[in-house]
């Protein structure tokens, strides 16, 4: 921690000129915030936490402190229970100022172990909250899935209504040989909150990860995700959706790195921006020299629903190996005119046609999310935003 603090102190705060901040304005309330020690009072269950019925365990993390945690099927520990060498820290301390801040200031952590061979049917639910006004919090979550074990984890991000605060979580997911993890994060922070999440997924041989990312909240919300396909035969699917409104910025930075042989990955991400919101997707598919037989694909589709909204989509490939199959597709634009015309030609008024089109656009992603049972509240939350926007007469 002391070493991390030193790194943190030495690293410059971003000026906004860095590649990281090329598409978004750097405006983190960093200097105005202070790390928080004692957790504040949790917020009541929202649309997602309330909708999850059967679980294999639960944890409540408030302002970076693990307030509650229990499971009858997974081994649940906190930072104090962990030997330092067992920490799965895959984000280098000097990755950036925020990663260093996390390493320096995280004072607690949740560690889930799925024992070798265990098959855990129901998801483990992590309710991740920031509540203390003006506070910076550094929640830490590690999930280790043992050999041939199967588990699923849901993380729901939430924050106190109207409160400006910063949340800098780190989430480490490590899959052993033949392990299978389904992971769904539902980022539904209040629009006043800011978050930069560093998430790392490391796959062993023949491991399978299915990752879902739903991004709805936050004034500025960044997900810095790296998927490391290290083991031969491993595969990872990342499916996500985001919907920006007001002046939100939703920022996705993904690196999918194929290192093992015969690995496969698929990124499928769809988003919409309205009002004056903006989104960023920068996705790098990196295929290492020895990663023969890699198959990888990346798709990012964006709907721009207002003149003042903006979506940036920047897919990238870095291929150091010949024997690969890969591709990417990316699009940014308004709802398809031809489709709207077709729907209207059967008697649907334009607003109804638009609603159906938006619903369909996201349904494709919702149907592919890794953990079932949440389709309706997710679709409702997305749809509510669009309908509110539409009834304000802001749709062209």
């Amino acid at each position: 921690m002391e070493a991390a603090f030193e790194v943190f102190s030495k690293l410059e705060e971003p000026t906004g000129a860095e590649e990281d901040w090329r598409y978004v304005e750097y405006n983190l309330p960093f200097s105005r915030l202070a790390p928080v020690g004692e957790p504040g009072s949790p917020v009541p269950p929202g649309p997602f936490v309330g909708a999850i019925e059967a679980t294999s365990g639960k944890a409540l993390i408030v302002d970076g402190t693990v307030v509650e945690s229990s499971s009858d099927q997974l081994v649940v520990r906190r930072l104090v229970d962990i030997e330092p060498e067992r920490l799965l820290n895959r984000v280098p301390v000097d990755h950036n100022k925020l990663a260093a801040a996390h390493a320096a200031f995280a004072h607690d952590g949740l560690f889930l172990d799925v024992p070798e061979g265990a098959v855990v049917e129901n998801p483990f639910l992590i309710d991740l909250q920031g509540v203390t006004p003006g506070a910076a919090s550094f929640p830490h979550i590690s999930v280790r899935v043992g050999e041939r074990a199967e588990a699923s984890v849901i993380v729901v991000y939430r924050s106190a209504p109207g409160e400006s605060l910063l949340m800098v979580p780190q989430i480490h997911l490590e899959l052993g040989q033949g392990a299978n993890l389904r992971f769904l994060s539902l980022q539904n922070l209040d629009h006043a909150a800011t978050t930069v999440t560093h998430q790392r997924v490391v796959l062993g041989r023949d491991a399978t990860a299915r990752i879902g990312e739903v991004g709805l909240g936050g004034d500025f919300a960044r997900l810095d995700l790296a998927v490391e396909l290290e083991g031969d035969g491993s595969s990872a699917e990342t499916v996500g959706l985001y919907f920006g409104e007001g002046t939100q910025t939703l920022d996705y930075r993904m690196v999918i790195r194929h290192a093992g042989k015969h690995t496969s990955s698929d990124v499928f991400l769809k988003g919409a921006v309205e009002d004056e919101s903006q989104s960023v997707f920068t996705g790098l598919l990196r295929i290492e020299k020895d990663a023969v037989g890699t198959s990888t694909f990346e798709t990012n589709r964006n709907l721009v629903l207002s003149e003042g909204a903006k979506a940036n989509s920047v897919p990238n490939l870095e291929i150091l190996c010949d024997d690969v199959v890969c591709g990417h597709g990316s699009s940014v634009g308004p709802p398809d005119e031809e489709s709207l015309y077709y729907l209207q030609s059967r008697g649907l008024p334009l607003p109804t046609a638009e609603r159906l089109l938006i619903k369909g656009f996201f349904q494709e992603v919702i149907d592919r999310l890794p953990i079932g049972g949440m389709e309706e509240p997710i679709a409702d939350e997305v749809f509510r935003r669009f309908v509110a926007h539409q009834s304000e007469g802001q749709v062209a």
Binding site: E338, S345, R346, G347, L348, T352, L356, G360
Partner: protein, 266 residues
Amino acid sequence: MNPALSVKGLTASIASKEILNGLDLEVPFGEVHAIMGPNGSGKSTLCHVLTGKEGYEVAGSALLDGVEILDLPVDERARLGLLQSFQYPTEVPGVRLRDFVYEAAVAHGVSPEEAEARIDKEAARFGVERFLDRSLNDDLSGGEKKRSEIFQMAVLRPKMALLDEIDSGLDIDAVRQVAEAVEEMRSPEMGTLMITHYSRILRYMTPDRIHVMIDGRIVDSGERELADELEAGGYESVRQRLGLTRPAVAAERRPSEFFTETPFDV
């Protein structure tokens, strides 16, 4: 009683190029009419202009059961009872055929219970159950797309059906099935106008009238024998009989164009 559709002096141009050139046409309720014409004669434009696609400068009159529709937006024309089946129905990912046709029926003023009942009944009748719960037109064969269009028509029960090249891109069995479905749909409450440049679908059905469209106008109307003449001698035969000169651009086309299938039509 009003005709289902009555078109008078219809002109349409796009980028100041005149495509429809004073077109007159009447389709009574209960009848099936076919418009045949070579590529570039304005058949698809006629469909677009009647349906309400933007981008055309339009004059003249088109009455749907006595109501002028040319000034109305596309969705309002549909709710008044005009339905165009598309030559290339758009694929709409994530929107299920069932949900779409339900929303459309409700927009037509059909009660939710009645809409559901019609969907079940017509889906069985036109064999669309297999893709009823799949994305609209996504990953369907040409024949399935056309069946989906006819199924929607059966649920929405328009007063006037415009079938734009409903036989294009189909193999011979599918053409026969579509023709049978169109005959099956025949009703005293509906007029039907088929638009085609290919006469083979007419072998499997009996239109009440056949109209020949050349250079943006109906130049001749008749019954079965007109289709026979076209099949034997092509549009050239009709042109010669009526003393129509071919415009310079059209003269460059191959005489056999009548029998070619081209995916795009002006």
